[in-house]
């Protein structure tokens, strides 16, 4: 009886020890080879795992370190999704501050912008940066808006108000971040360093426009639909547990292309451009149209305006 119990306990101990040694061996294999299958760091090499851990803030990295980080991000995407991704670090252009204007007389609630944004920015398929709100005509009370409208649009007596990140010039989310994981770039885009963010979500509480989204789980991102043209501060695949937001399609706009929502809009309701260029379309709209901004009384100075045709 006693012996039996002794054997049983030794057996369990033996099993635990074997498991432990097996784990050590796997780690060693992973450290020795560049493509460990299912090792302790999610298939990463030891070097990549260490470099991830010691990666600095984006603004503190030297150019060489940034390049190293970009290549590491590409390797990670190759391992996780099997796609050949190009992660870039296009700097802001001098003399440019981006602004956006949306014509609410023209918006008809098709939500083409929403899904163009999802595809362009490698969003988790349950997240949408742009929310088109169906509003009763004659009201700007957002509490009466319907986010979940369906069917044929536009409906009688309704107008449509697309909401997204306003890229405030006085952004409360940036002030709320305790670790400077989010900041405003020189061209006016409020960006997030997804590797520096640790997911406290203070910025989500601070944002008056509910324009920030949290990755509660691993993003639901179909590998065959990944957009391989990515930017470090933009649409590279995000990890679990970080906050993300609209970044004016930084990978497109810094290469002179319009944002995906602008390119997808079938009614021409969106006007995008450089606020510092007096001949740009956005400046014409701001100077000649009746524009307003949402929750302007908060003093956040949004760089996204709404205007009407008349």
């Amino acid at each position: 009886m006693r012996k039996h119990r002794y054997e049983a306990t030794t057996g369990q101990a033996d099993h635990a020890r074997r498991k432990f040694l097996k784990g050590i061996g796997t780690v060693a294999v992973a450290a020795g080879t560049a493509h460990g299958a299912r090792a302790a760091w999610g298939g990463e090499t030891l070097g990549d795992a260490f470099a991830d851990f010691f990666q600095k803030h984006y603004q503190r990295m030297t150019p060489a370190e940034i390049q190293e980080t970009l290549r590491r991000i590409e390797r990670k995407a190759k391992r996780r999704y099997g796609v050949d991704m190009q992660c870039s670090n296009t700097p802001p252009r001098g003399g440019v501050v981006f602004g956006y204007a949306i014509n609410i007389s023209k918006c008809r609630g098709y939500r083409d912008c929403v899904h163009a944004c999802v595809k362009e920015n490698n969003l988790s398929r349950d997240t949408q940066y742009i929310r088109v709100v169906e509003m009763p005509q004659g009201s700007l009370d957002l509490a009466q808006g319907d986010h979940y409208f369906e069917g044929e649009v536009p409906k009688e007596g309704k107008y449509y108000l697309p909401l997204q990140c306003m890229h405030c010039d006085n952004p409360p989310c940036v002030k709320a971040c305790p670790i400077d994981a989010t900041w405003m770039e020189p061209d006016g885009i409020v960006v997030v360093d997804y590797d520096w963010c640790f997911g406290c979500r203070y910025c989500m509480a601070a944002c008056p426009y509910s324009a920030r989204f949290f990755n509660w789980g691993q993003p639901d991102l179909p590998p065959e639909e990944i957009n391989p043209d990515t930017h470090y501060l933009g649409n590279r695949p995000r990890p679990k547990g970080v906050v993300e937001k609209c970044h004016f399609c930084i990978q497109r706009t810094r290469n002179d292309r319009p944002p995906a929502c602008h390119a997808a809009c079938p009614t021409g309701a969106r006007v995008f451009g450089n606020l510092l260029d007096p001949d740009s379309e956005i400046r014409y709209v701001l100077e000649n149209k009746a524009v307003f901004r949402l929750k302007e009384e908060l003093g956040t100075e949004p760089k996204l305006w709404y205007f009407r045709d008349t």
Binding site: G95, M184, H262, G268, G273, N274
Partner: protein
């Protein structure tokens, strides 16, 4: 941690300060039309508009000159598209330069000068640019009555649009701005040509709306199924009397504002000479890719917004060459109202929560059937349930 924080917070203010300083300096140092140049010089990075701004910031020949010596401006051409010009004239004071100096308002509506100009103006039928435009770029143009253009146009695909014709002065004087700095200032171009290209100016909207930036219009596809007129009228005589269309035209429906009520009809906007095309109310013949001139005769406010970029859509890039869609890219010309369409799927709810079939906002619930406002409910509670 503090050093990036300080840097971050200093940057926007620094940018605004620099921009404001540049603006103030330019306003003081240069005339209004040279603001761009000054700002380009003040910017730290020349990768912005670069040298193009310098070239584009020239004054128009008809604008009031700064020195009072040339008190007699060149005669204003009012021969083309008078409706759009008249509609544009109330918007003239919005331009940068005040129109008082050397600007004769009476010339805009002077019928005598208009008739002279119309006789003197050369016929622009068969402008060499319009022959290659529509057919060549049919693959990259947008369909007139469908939404299926590729929103995700890449810069490589945009390169295929190079067959587009530059509207306006580019029709006569080729101006390859694609290379960056090769464009000539407009006054030089006009000085180099014997006859100033006033039709081109009008076509490009420079004359109608001073301050319009140069642009290219994405050519539309030719749609022979929708426009089979020339199949018969190449040989059949057309009855030009305005009437309600009968057999064999009864398959064609015109739902364009007043058009269906007999106000307008085919030959209001079309001509059947040669390859066929568009005509203005005055008889100026235009290719299909310049439909915006025809549209702007009536829709003046939309045309103004379109020229300046508040209406319509700029494609390919937000800076550099302005490539914009024609009116007919979005509005089917014979039925311009956009049709209702099914919306794409909306947002999902948070994990684990079911979305109701028909979600009614709470603010509406409170004021709708059975739901009384909060103050009434509080009053009810205090009065012990008695209303």
């Amino acid at each position: 941690m503090s050093s990036p924080a300080q840097r971050n917070r200093a940057r926007p203010w620094l940018i605004l300060l620099v921009a404001a300083t540049c603006a103030v300096a330019s306003v003081e140092a240069a005339p209004t039309s040279d603001r761009l140049l000054t700002q380009a010089a003040g910017g730290a990075d020349t990768g912005g508009w670069g040298g193009d701004w310098e070239d584009l910031s020239v004054s128009f020949p008809d604008e009031p000159p700064s020195e009072p010596a040339s008190a007699s401006p060149p005669p204003t051409r009012s021969s083309q598209a008078p409706a759009a010009q008249e509609a544009a004239s109330p918007a003239q004071p919005a331009a940068d330069e005040p129109p008082e100096a050397g600007w004769d308002w009476s010339e805009w509506g002077d019928p005598k000068s208009a008739s002279e100009e119309s006789t003197a103006a050369p016929s622009i039928e068969g402008t060499p640019a319009d022959s290659a435009s529509a057919e060549d770029a049919a693959g990259t143009g947008t369909d007139a009555d469908s939404w299926d253009w590729d929103w995700d146009e890449t810069p490589a695909a945009a390169g295929a649009v190079t067959t587009t014709r530059r509207a306006g002065v580019g029709a006569k004087a080729a101006s390859p701005r694609r290379g960056g700095r090769t464009v000539k200032p407009r006054d030089q171009r006009l000085a180099s040509t014997a006859e100033p290209d006033f039709e081109g100016e009008i076509r490009a909207g420079y004359r109608l709306f001073p301050g319009v930036q140069p642009f290219e219009v994405i050519p539309s596809k030719k749609d022979p199924e929708m426009h089979p007129c020339l199949d018969c009228h190449e040989w059949a005589e057309s009855d030009r009397t305005p009437r309600r269309l009968q057999e064999p035209h009864d398959n064609f429906q015109l739902k364009h504002g007043l058009h269906g009520k007999g106000e307008f009809w085919c030959f209001t906007c079309h001509h059947l000479e040669g390859e066929g095309g568009l005509r203005t109310l005055e008889g100026l013949k235009l290719p299909f890719d310049e439909a915006y001139i025809v549209c702007s005769q009536c829709h003046a406010q939309a045309a103004r917004d379109w020229y300046f970029g508040a209406h319509g859509k700029r494609v390919t890039s937000w800076r550099g060459d302005r490539q914009i869609l024609n009116c007919t890219a979005c509005h089917y010309q014979h039925k311009p109202a956009l049709a209702a369409r099914k919306a794409m799927p909306g947002p999902t709810t948070r994990m684990g929560m079911e979305r109701p079939d028909h979600w009614v906002p709470k603010a509406q619930l409170d004021t709708q059937d059975g739901h009384k406002p909060l103050w009434e409910r509080i009053a009810e509670r205090r009065s012990g349930g008695q209303p």
